[in-house]
Structures are given as structure tokens and as C-alpha cells.
Symmetry: C2
Subunit: 156 residues, 2 copies
């Protein structure tokens, strides 16, 4: 079964792989953002998390997780760090004690301006028209959805 496929794909070096292109671009964003984030005192995943909370405050851990494609095993420690730094508050829901509600503190909301500066900085460093970025975002989202769907079909 693995015999003949080689011929179709053998020529594909690392650079022709979409997964590698995405891997590299992700790395590049990470590294680009890292020093800027450092000035804000947070990491890149923490930044993404705060963005999600700026968009919608008072989310449950699992709600945030759906948004960010993460689960409690990753989020819980990350959120604890954000809490320790005073950017968010975590409290168990009164209605359902299983749930933990995550909210921005005033300090967390105040980070917003810095966060927006970061976006502006990345934006202005990309010599790419806004429409192109929009298209790219759409294409990437399509691919992400296809992979997510395919994964459910193939494994579980």
C-alpha cells in the first residue's frame, strides 16, 4: 500500500509542504511577538488568551478553550499565571460550582492599548495589502476546518 505513492510525493521537499510553511510562519510570529510581549510582561499564548477575553469577558475555562483550541490541562496553569500577575480573576460560578469563570481585571483591560500597539506593529511590518491578509486568513481557516473535520473522520 505504501509502494507507489512514493513517486507522486518523493519530490516534495520540506519547503513545498504546507504544514512546514505554516509551522515556519507560526514560529516567525512567535519570535516577532515575543520581545514585544516581554515588555508587557506576558507570553504569546497569554496574549492570545487576553485577546479572547477582550473580545468576550467572563468566559468559562472550557469556553475559552473552545475558542483557543486548548483544554484545561493547558489553560489552567496559564490562567493561574495571568491571575498571579493580576490581569485576570478566576472564580467558581455560584450556579455551577464545577465551572470557573475567567474575567479581566482593570489591569487586564488596561493591557489592551499595549496589545493594540503590538497588532499595529506587526501590521505595519508586513508589506501586504489588507485584502491579501483577509484572503489568507480565510484560506487558512478553511484548511484548519478541513483538517479538523478530516481528523474526526480518520481517527476520533
Amino acid at each position: 500500500m505504501a509502494e507507489k505513492k512514493s513517486e507522486e510525493f518523493q519530490g516534495f521537499g520540506l519547503d513545498q509542504h504546507l504544514c512546514f510553511a505554516i509551522y515556519k510562519a507560526n514560529h516567525a510570529f512567535n519570535r516577532f511577538y515575543k520581545p514585544v510581549m516581554k515588555q508587557l510582561g506576558i507570553t504569546y499564548p497569554q496574549y492570545i488568551t487576553l485577546l479572547a477575553l477582550l473580545e468576550k469577558d467572563h468566559q468559562r475555562v472550557s469556553e475559552l478553550g473552545e475558542r483557543l483550541f486548548l483544554e484545561s490541562n493547558t489553560l489552567t496553569p496559564l490562567l493561574k499565571r495571568l491571575e498571579e500577575m493580576g490581569f485576570i480573576a478566576r472564580e467558581r460560578s455560584k450556579e455551577d460550582e464545577r465551572q470557573v469563570i475567567v474575567s479581566l481585571t482593570k489591569e487586564g483591560r488596561d493591557l489592551s492599548d499595549g496589545v493594540i500597539d503590538v497588532q499595529h506593529c506587526a501590521f505595519s511590518n508586513l508589506n501586504v495589502p489588507v485584502e491579501t491578509i483577509g484572503q489568507l486568513v480565510e484560506q487558512l481557516n478553511d484548511i484548519q476546518e478541513m483538517l479538523t473535520d478530516a481528523k474526526e473522520k480518520v481517527s476520533g
Copy 2:
């Protein structure tokens, strides 16, 4: 300085961010590949590393690092695991004892077919024409380069 920018960008939710689209797509690839990789007994970064070695065998750690945008602090343990599993060999260069040469073993090369199956699997699950993928790869590479260059200008 951070006052007025808010207006330009305030509307940008998480979903409009290129960095988030890339982050999501990367996640999706990771999760899609993970179960397939598991059958091969390796992780996704290990897979990428093996791909790089299939492309060019007998690389130095730092050479591999340039290719994969990783450094010895990440690569050394990863390579040690691949060595323990018998897929690669690590040996110090005779000419320069500081360098460690990484080579594929027979077992490592034999993984190639499985690796190619994985590519085929991902490929056939993406309802996207090859040309579109090629374009995407180029665009992502451009963005990666711009960010890498910008990073050098801005920070270090």
C-alpha cells in the same frame, strides 16, 4: 502614543488576526498528524526533523537548526530521543570535535514510506487544488521572511 490607534484596530477580533489564523492552522496540522505519527512512534517535530534529514543526510545540529528554526537547546533532547528509538545516529565530527553530525539509520530511512503516506493522507483530505496550496506556501513564506526581517530591525 497608544491613544488613537485603538480606533483603527479595535474592531479586529481574534478571527481577523493573521497570527491567530496561522496559530489555528498550525494547531490543526499538529492534531491531524499526531495520531498518524503515533503509529510511527514519533512526534510531529520529530517527523519534521526526519523530513529535513531525508532531504539532506549527515547534517550538523546547527545546520538542522537553521533549517528548522530551532537551536541546540530544543534539538539536542529531540535528537537524543530519535537516537534512542534508533532512527538516527549522532556522532562527533572527527575534523571538529565541537560538531555533532546527525545521520539517518536504516530504520530512519525506512520510516520514509510511512512519512510519505502521512503526506498523502493530509493531501487527500484537503479539498484544495495543488496550485492553491503552492500559492499559500509562497505567501506564508513571504510573511515569514518579512516578520523575520522586521524582527531583526525592531529588536535584535
